[in-house]
Every structure is written in C-alpha cells, then in structure tokens.
C-alpha cells in the first residue's frame, strides 16, 4: 500500500478532490494512454491473463460435458430443480448493475466523481452480463432449442408463452446488454480517436482508426455526441430498475413459500447495486494502486462509493427484515412461517446467518470514515459483500425449494464438482475480459477527465 497522506494520519482526515489537480490535459491523457500504447504487456496482467485463460478452458470443458451428457452432471434434483445455475445467473446480473447506474443515473445527477470510474464500471457490467447470459441458455435441458424462447415466425406456428417470467427475462437481459454496450462504446469513441492520434504503429493506428469511426473532435461531433450520450443515459435509467425487478419476478411470480412475495423487486434492485459497487471497488482498488491511478481514482471516490454501498446495504437489510416479518407474523400463512423458520434453523441455517453477517453486520463498519478511507479494509469488505450477495441468492433459491408443501418430497441439495467448475469458469472468463480491457482500452474517459480538469482549474465566474 503506497503512502498517501490521508491514510497515514489518524483522527480527522481531509477527503481529497475527485482528481489530482497537478495534471495538465496532456499529462492526464498520456498517463491513461500509456498503459495501452506500451509494447510490452505488464507482467502481472500477463500472469492474471494466463490464470484466467486456464479457467476459461475449464469453463468450456464443463460446457461441453454439460451439453453432451446432460444437466445430471450438476447437483440439481427433485425438489431442488434450480441451484447453482440460477444462483450464479442472478449474482452476475446483480454485479452488472453498477455500470448503468454510474453511467446513467450519476451522469444525470451530474455527480463529478463518476467520471473517473464510469468506463471501468461499464466494462465490468458488460462482462458480468455476458457471464450471466450463459446460464439461462445452458441451464435448460436442451440448450440447442433455447432459441424457442425468442418470438419468431416458424412452421410450427408456435409462439413462446408470454405469461412466463423467463420469457420476460429474455427481453430484459438482452435489452440491458445492448444498451450497456452502446453506452460504453459511444463513450469510448473520442478516446479511441485520441489513441489513434497517439498510435505508434500502423496496425494499432488502423485498428483504433476503424474503431473510432472517423472521430475528428469537431464541434459538430461534440454536439452530436452530447445529445446521443444524454439520450442513452435517459434510455438506460429505467433499465437500472427494470432488469433486476424482472429477474426477481422469476421468483416472485412463482407460488413457492420464500419466492412468492411482493417485496422482491425493490430489494433485488438494491441488492444488485450493492453488489455492483462492491465488485467495482474489488477491481478498482488493486488496479488503482498498481497502475498508480490514485490521482484519478482518489479517496474521494472510494468514500463516495462506500457510502452508496452503506445505503443500499441498509435497504437490503430492511428487505431481509420485512421478509421475515411478513413470513412469520404478517401473512399468517403456516407454509410461509415454516419456510422462514427452516431458513433460520433448518439444515441450511448456516447459509442464512452467513448471509446476514456478510451483507448486514460487517458492512456496518462503513459508518466509520476511517474504515472507508483505509483501502485494504475497504477492499476486504467489498469482497465480503460479494460473497454475501451470492449467499443471498443461494438462500432464496435452495432453502425455499428444498422444503416446500409436501414433506414427502423434501430433499437436500449439494453442488457437484461441475457446478463449481462452471462457476469459477465464469469468474475466469470475467477476469480474462477485464484483463483484455485494461490492456487494450483506455480505462478512464480521458476527455471527460480533461473536461473536469478544466472545470476545476477555472471555476465558472
């Protein structure tokens, strides 16, 4: 952990600016682009890439085994017909939430501190959604027929069944992915252009040239750019809410005790943002210290994001509390009550209490500024939150399914090695994409930083 004044001093600490004002436009731009333009891939990135690549291999092996023999290689059974597959799906989708939130909502609210993390968050979103997207397709018994979920004209004259939440998922997730991608790419164009202009070799120049689509930074370009960016921001704002609400309907629409509850949409969204921010920090903190980007991602950012996590974390806790209250007291439904008791004291009680600890108790440390500013602690907390959010989905899916209405059909669930391979496989895939991103794409919106720099240096009179 390199020394930066605020972290050293005890007691009251000054929270720094959203970026280091020593920078000039050039220094800022150069610093960002250097990472990409330098010939040699930095060793740590190379190593990380290597490891992730192996995991990707594992992922493809698992997928092959899965498609060639069947879902049976997983631990899923009767009654627990959904398990790791859907848990991981929801987890990844949740992580994918930070991106649009930061890009769109914070943009509309003119939050300056978003500038230096939005690119990063958006990239993460896209990769997370990719990972998530794999599961719905692969968890079905006959993946090669998954395209039947899309409404298209066919000789069977069959349409999908629009009453099914899974159907809604298809639209929600694909829309979300498309918009996020556009958003991300649009933001990239000016930076790709500046890369093009700084490119040293003909090849990289050509590539960046094609990608930047002939951006010349003319006033006309900028004016159009601002319009489209604003439009996309407006478009994706509702998505932030819609995607995870709809994912939550997969459960809320079913009549299973523990699933069938109206509070799911809001608290799924909160949880998603919670985990999204956690993941952004989990990745940003190491990157920031390795590439020495402390002057772009300052303590200010960490502080702000910690506060967002604290807030969403509290909403999530409120969700858990209400869930318990409704089940045990308010509904008066014995099945619901049993479900909650079973969660708390049944065979999977450990998962429930771990969840409460990870998502509810430990994050309370964020109330303390000192914790928020102590990067290593903060980093650990973010990891804990990621684990907690995974457990939340485990609890909701497995403990609800394994004991429902007919005691005769109760059972237990345990993952097989293939479940785990698949999960760490997707993590590897995610990491691999992240590495590629760090290596080949400017991880900060350079021009926005310059804009910000301008604002800061010459405040409007």
């Amino acid at each position: 952990m390199s020394a930066s004044a605020p972290e050293k001093t005890m007691g009251y600490v000054e929270i720094p600016e959203v970026l280091d004002l020593h920078h000039t436009y050039d220094t800022a731009t150069d610093k960002i682009n250097d990472v990409i333009l330098k010939k040699k891939t930095p060793v740590p990135i190379a190593v990380a890439m290597g490891i992730c690549f192996l995991l990707v291999g594992l992922l493809f092996t698992t997928i092959t085994k899965l498609v060639s023999t069947g879902i049976g290689i997983w631990g899923n059974n009767q009654p627990v017909a959904w398990a790791f597959d859907i848990i991981n799906f929801v987890w990844w989708i949740g992580i994918g939430h930070a991106g649009t939130l930061i890009s769109a909502i914070l943009f509309l609210f003119r939050q300056e501190w978003r500038t230096s993390i939005n690119r990063f968050a958006e990239a993460m979103t896209i990769f997370a959604v990719m990972c998530a997207g794999m599961y719905p397709v692969l968890h079905v018994g006959r993946p090669w027929l998954a395209y039947w979920l899309f409404p298209y004209v066919n000789v069977m004259q069959m349409w999908p069944q629009f009453r099914s939440p899974l159907m809604w998922d298809v639209f929600a997730v694909s829309t979300y992915f498309t918009i996020s991608l556009l958003f991300w790419y649009t933001g990239l164009i000016p930076d790709l252009a500046s890369l093009r202009d700084r490119a040293k070799t003909r090849v990289s120049r050509f590539i960046t040239g094609v990608l930047s689509m002939g951006w010349r930074g003319s006033a006309r370009h900028w004016q159009r750019y601002d319009i489209i960016y604003l439009l996309l921001a407006g478009l994706s704002t509702p998505l932030v809410v819609s995607v995870h609400s709809i994912v939550s309907l997969d459960f809320a629409v079913a009549q299973l005790p523990g699933w069938h509850t109206s509070i799911f949409p809001p608290y799924f969204v909160a949880g998603a943002i919670y985990s999204g921010f956690a993941m952004v920090l989990t990745l940003a903190i190491p990157v920031r210290s390795y590439f020495g980007f402390k002057d772009f991602i300052t303590q200010r950012h960490l502080d702000a994001m910690s506060k967002v996590m604290l807030a969403t974390g509290l909403i999530v806790m409120y969700g858990y509390a209400m869930e318990a209250f409704i089940a045990l007291v308010y509904s008066g439904n014995p099945n619901e009550a049993f479900m909650m008791k079973n969660r708390m004291f049944g065979p999977y009680a450990w998962s429930y209490w771990m969840l409460i600890t990870c998502n509810g108790v430990i994050p309370q440390l964020l109330w303390f500024k000192r914790v928020r500013l102590h990067t290593p602690t903060l980093w650990v907390i973010t990891v804990v939150i990621n684990i907690g959010m995974w457990l939340e989905r485990f609890v909701i899916i497995v403990t609800s399914l394994h004991r429902d209405f007919l005691p005769s059909s109760w059972g237990m669930y345990a993952p097989t090695k293939w479940d785990i391979f698949m999960f760490i496989g997707t993590i590897g895939f995610f990491g691999f994409m992240m590495c590629l991103f760090l290596r080949f794409i400017p991880m900060f919106a350079g021009f926005e930083l310059r804009e910000l720099l301008h604002k800061k240096k010459s405040p409007p009179h």
Partner: protein, 219 residues
C-alpha cells in the same frame, strides 16, 4: 506518420454497417425459406422405391384405395398392402414382368418388401387416419391427386402449421361422406357454408379450441 484514412473511408464504414446488418437478417430469412423449400419439406420429391409402383396406373383401373390401404377406416395407420395383396392379381397379370421381380422374390422367400416412407411424421406425432376419414376429410385433402402420380410424392409439408391450418378452420376442407375416396373432388364455390353444415352433421366441435389441444397429436 501519414494519414491512413481518406474521407472516403466514411463511406466504407457506413457501407460495412449496412452490410453487417443485412447479413444477420438475411441469413435468418434464408434459413426460414430453406425450411419451407422443397429441400426442407421434400414436397413433390419422389422417393426411390424397390418397385416402381404407380398409383396412377392402379387407380385408373378403378381399384379403390381401401383395396390395399385396408385399415384406413379402423386404424391409425392406413395400412400398407402385404405381398399377398399384390400377388392376388400379379400371380396372373404381368406375372413375368421383370419390374415385379422383387414382389415375386418376396413372395417366394417370405422376406418383406421394404418401401421408403414418403409421408413420414416425427416419432412424437400420433396421427390417426380413421378419425379423419370418419369426419369428412378425404384422401386428396392431404395426399393430393395420388391417382395422378406415377411415382408417389408428398403433396403437402406435413408441418405442424399445415395441420393447424385445417384444425383451426376445418369447414374449409370437410367434404360429404360419399366423396371421401373421390380423388377428383374439388371444394364447391359455397364450401364455406357447406362446410359449416357438415361440421354440424359430423359433430365437429371447434369451440374452446378443442381441435387445438396438444394431446390430440402429442402424447
């Protein structure tokens, strides 16, 4: 370093976008057309058969469909004639024609003839001839003018959609009981009204989508 992009590059860019989009949509359209084309449906594709049997020839001699397809009125399958059925006549007529050698061979050895299926439904579809015949659907409605086919071929796709066309509006296709085996029958100009009359007569109940229940064909 010199510029590598001339202003014309923009034109290329736009073009390539158009092409990329077109390729995606186009390929989907092509795929759909392919499934509907004779390549996919095998409509009007005559199959190679062990004996070049001509329905045209036999029908024109006035042999009733049911002489060979005996169980069409009782069973799910219309029935494929046994070698004996062939030999009933061909032990005396054309009994030395080389074309019929496989038939005589089968008769001698007791080894069955092996015809290639022309109307082949998937394994999970359970079609019943008898009920269709009983409810006023004639042979030609599905099989076409078999009596004019030198070599047997499919007249219709037998796709689910094609089945539904009739199950959604049977009145367009039903015909009088005495015309079931009449290959030449054509729907009269007033088929719409006549059809509705016949539905009443045959007690074909289309309300509540009864004719569209999955289990009518899938079990």
């Amino acid at each position: 370093m010199p510029q590598i992009f001339k202003p014309t590059a923009n034109a290329f860019a736009r073009l390539s976008i158009a092409i990329g989009f077109g390729a995606v949509v186009g390929s989907l359209v092509v795929l759909d057309l392919l499934t509907r084309s004779p390549y996919g449906t095998e409509v009007n594709v005559a199959r190679e058969q062990p004996v070049a049997f001509s329905h045209k020839h036999h029908a024109n001699m006035g042999i009733d469909c049911r002489y060979c397809h005996t169980s069409v009125e009782e069973g799910a399958f219309a029935g494929i004639p046994s070698t004996k059925t062939c030999m009933n006549c061909h032990s005396t007529i054309f009994n030395d024609s080389p074309m019929l050698e496989p038939v005589r061979e089968s008769w001698k050895t007791g080894e069955s003839l092996q015809w290639n299926r022309v109307h082949d439904l998937p394994q999970f579809v359970y079609f019943d001839h008898s009920i269709h015949v009983a409810k006023g659907i004639g042979c030609s409605t599905c099989h076409g003018r078999v009596d004019q086919m030198p070599l047997t071929r499919k007249e219709n796709t037998l796709y689910m959609g094609w089945c539904l066309d009739c199950h959604r509006a049977p009145e367009k296709f039903v015909r009088p009981k005495d015309k079931i085996f009449d290959m030449a029958w054509e729907p009269p100009p007033n088929q719409k009204e006549a059809g509705l009359e016949l539905l009443k007569e045959y007690k074909i109940d289309t309300e509540h989508y009864k004719m569209l229940d999955c289990y009518l064909c899938h079990r």
